[in-house]
Symmetry: C2
Subunit: 415 residues, 2 copies
């Protein structure tokens, strides 16, 4: 089986290296050689393991290639290339979650009867696409909770274990190569959202794009939130959450307070994990490296092996017909909340706040007032019982207008 | 697709129930109905959801059945039936790990070009067969560590968290239905060994049977071992371990001291988990329910769905050709050990013991002497650096003959 590698960067070069180094086991597994014959890049590559060209057409027009592996990144350009390949009835493998978050259904349509692998697009080395599409296929998926971004998890772990400040840890993560120079994609939740949307297509057939769903990042989290979490038996994780209730599915990405006892709360550092609950299987969890050249190549090559074995022919998301789920509007999300307020230390303030809460039908589950940071302001921490997103948003809107509020209220959801 | 259910007990009846109740999603997933048409049992079943017969031949000779699902248990009888079915070119699904531990290679031979599913035979609802055979297929598997028996993990968890005695917890587990009236199969490591052997066939193509490998259970573990583990940052788990080094593979099942920080050490209660390390992916872990009717049915039906999608045609263990691994002899296992000795409290005893250790080339990593239990005897705890199984066995053999040893030395391996 001849393979072309479109993009010879971190993942592309690791795929080529592994196809060569693990040649024997790969052949033992599928009965044939999987041979990377040519790669594409923008720049000239010296000492590459296979020929690398800068001329896309030179590769795309080759008739002898069985599978094209897209590892360029970006959205528009790879989408255009893959469309063109699928129209020519070529098999495709990609790790490109950003593109899939927007264009997966157009690709699904074009890919009918072709192999289209995207195992590497979610949670790196963890074969979560296969698990969800095939392994758990008898189940109604009740919910998915994923730590889908290693950079954010690294930062949150260090904030929690070392009491360090968000900015400080981010800088350290950048120095260690765990975070990009422009980290907003990772820490603002977009990367996790792309992956969540892909999982939601397999679990529910939901056609949403990032703009349709709630996405919040971790940059607003302070040491005080970490302090509260530790005191009250919580851990803070950036989660991608998908939940089904009747025919509605809620999709959201945000920092989440989780009980320390949950398995997913125990996942530290750059590691990824996805917890999936099904009506038959109960709880399950899948844990592993979410990124890195070789780890991601493990997933890319598993797709190639499936193709070599003639096994990657299910419909792209494992649905032959629709299950008719639709997206729950954001304001109808119903969960528990955490609120941190910095308020003037004056008589009557607390009673005003609790009155506003009850006016929004929000009831308090726990309350903590921290020893004063300075002379005139206090920090108040609340957790609430279940309430609607619109109620909490309305409360925050009202609070913001109050004179006794020092800085904008900070809110987190609790699972 | 018409299915016959051979065995209408815990799992068989759950499979039938789920095929009926989740009919819609199953059809959406594979494009056809999967219909359980008849079941086999020894006794008459009233109010069953489908016809149940006591006449095996009535089912086995039916020409309209596409897949036969064996959920009877036992070894000889199901093996005879499945052989017969495969010879008739019938597709088979089974959850029977005991039978596979002994006869899987005979079945593999007969099953060529047929579908043979056994996802439910290891770790219940966790799709670990698929993960290892397909998801991680690009990797050389460096090691596998599995909590493969929920009963044992339940007992160990309670001993550790509540300080309770082995016998006490076992009784409680039996009352709760987590342990059988005759629990030896679970607590002596045989059930875990069956599952480990199946995983070892997928990872390494090893043809071992239970008698070939090291199997030890948890019944010798005392509160003192739990005390030591807690003090020194360990957790005790019954693990199935497979490890490759060059062309040798070691397979063993035994209670293991593990660092509390490892993900698999955090798996509590009746849950199962399998940690797999690959040369490309690094560490990964898969966690979920290891038993229970519906959870096991989730795995059985995923096999049926794979068959309906025409996807279960790889060779049974995912190897088209041999990788030429062979089993490491037990005495050549090289790891760290924990030793608990009850000795006479006399001058010179410790120096004799340490001398015997050095005569066996065993060096001490940590040592603890517990405050005396009674006037004349002391409990000594040792952990060692890496050494060979034959050395530790030899040491124990020598120790047993000493007059100053009160009860037989207790040994556990450390990972
Ligand atoms: N890195 C990870 O750990 C990871 C994990 C999961 C998924 N992914 C996904 O995998 C994909 C690749 O990631 P990466 O980290 O390997 O990226 P990368 O290191 O930046 O490599 C991208 C490669 O594609 C080439 N390329 C980009 N645009 C091109 C164009 N228009 N024409 C020709 N060549 C082009 C680049 O050429 P030059 O070398 O000349 O710049 C480079 O060789 C992305 O979709 C990413 O989201 C990555
Ligand atoms: N239970 C679990 O959680 C679990 C998990 C993973 C794997 N498994 C495996 O799944 C299999 C079934 O387990 P199970 O718990 O469902 O067992 P079970 O409750 O004891 O059911 C066994 C069924 O098979 C029938 N049967 C047994 N021998 C038979 C024979 N010779 N002829 C006709 N019928 C026969 C029994 O008939 P009667 O009803 O008349 O006795 C019963 O209906 C076993 O291989 C087990 O290891 C079980």
């Amino acid at each position: 089986m001849k393979v072309a590698i479109l993009g010879y960067g971190t993942v592309g070069s690791a795929v080529v290296k592994a196809l060569i180094e693990n040649e024997k086991i790969i052949k033992a597994r599928c009965g044939q050689n999987i041979i990377p014959v040519i790669a594409l890049a923008r720049s000239v590559k010296k000492n590459s393991l296979i020929p690398v060209t800068q001329n896309a057409d030179e590769i795309l027009n080759r008739k002898d290639i069985d599978v094209f592996v897209e590892l360029m990144g970006g959205v528009k350009e790879p989408f255009a290339i893959i469309k063109q390949l699928l129209k020519k009835k070529k098999n495709v493998v990609t790790a490109n979650k950003a593109m899939l978050a927007y264009h997966r259904y157009e690709l699904e349509k074009l890919a009918s009867n072709l192999a289209f692998g995207y195992e590497a697009s979610v949670a790196g080395a963890i074969p979560i696409i296969k698990v969800l599409k095939e392994g758990l296929s008898a189940n109604h998926i009740l919910n998915i909770k994923g730590i889908l971004n290693g950079t954010s998890n690294y930062i949150l772990t260090h904030m929690s274990q070392k009491g360090s400040d968000f900015k400080e840890v981010l800088k350290r993560a950048q120095e260690l190569g765990y975070a990009e120079a422009d980290p907003s994609f990772d820490i603002e939740g977009f990367d996790a959202a792309h992956k969540l949307l892909i999982l939601a297509s397999i679990a529910y057939g939901i056609r949403a794009v990032p703009e349709d769903i709630l996405i919040e990042g971790i940059s607003g989290i302070s040491n005080e939130d970490v302090y509260f979490a530790n005191e009250f038996g919580f851990t803070i994780k950036l989660l991608g959450v998908a939940k089904a209730q009747d025919s509605k599915v809620e999709l959201r990405v945000h920092p989440t307070m989780l009980s320390k006892n949950e398995m997913i709360a125990k996942v530290d550092g750059v590691m990824n994990a996805v917890s999936i609950r099904g009506d038959m299987l109960g709880e399950s969890l899948y844990y592993g490296a979410g990124a890195g050249g070789l780890a991601t190549a493990s997933a890319v090559i598993s797709d190639l092996l499936d193709i070599a074995r003639g096994q990657l022919k299910t419909p792209m998301f494992g649905f032959k017909s629709d299950m008719k789920y639709s997206l729950l509007p954001i304001e109808d999300i119903y969960t528990k909340y955490y609120l941190r307020l910095k308020v003037e230390d004056k008589i009557g303030v607390l009673s005003k706040i609790t009155q506003m809460m009850s006016e929004n039908s929000i009831s308090i589950d726990s309350f903590l007032q921290k020893p004063k940071a300075d002379e005139t302001y206090s920090t108040l921490f609340f957790t609430t019982h279940h309430t609607f997103e619109k109620s909490i948003k309305n409360l925050i809107h009202t609070l913001k207008k109050q004179k006794f509020i020092k800085t904008s209220p900070f809110m987190m959801r609790i699972e």
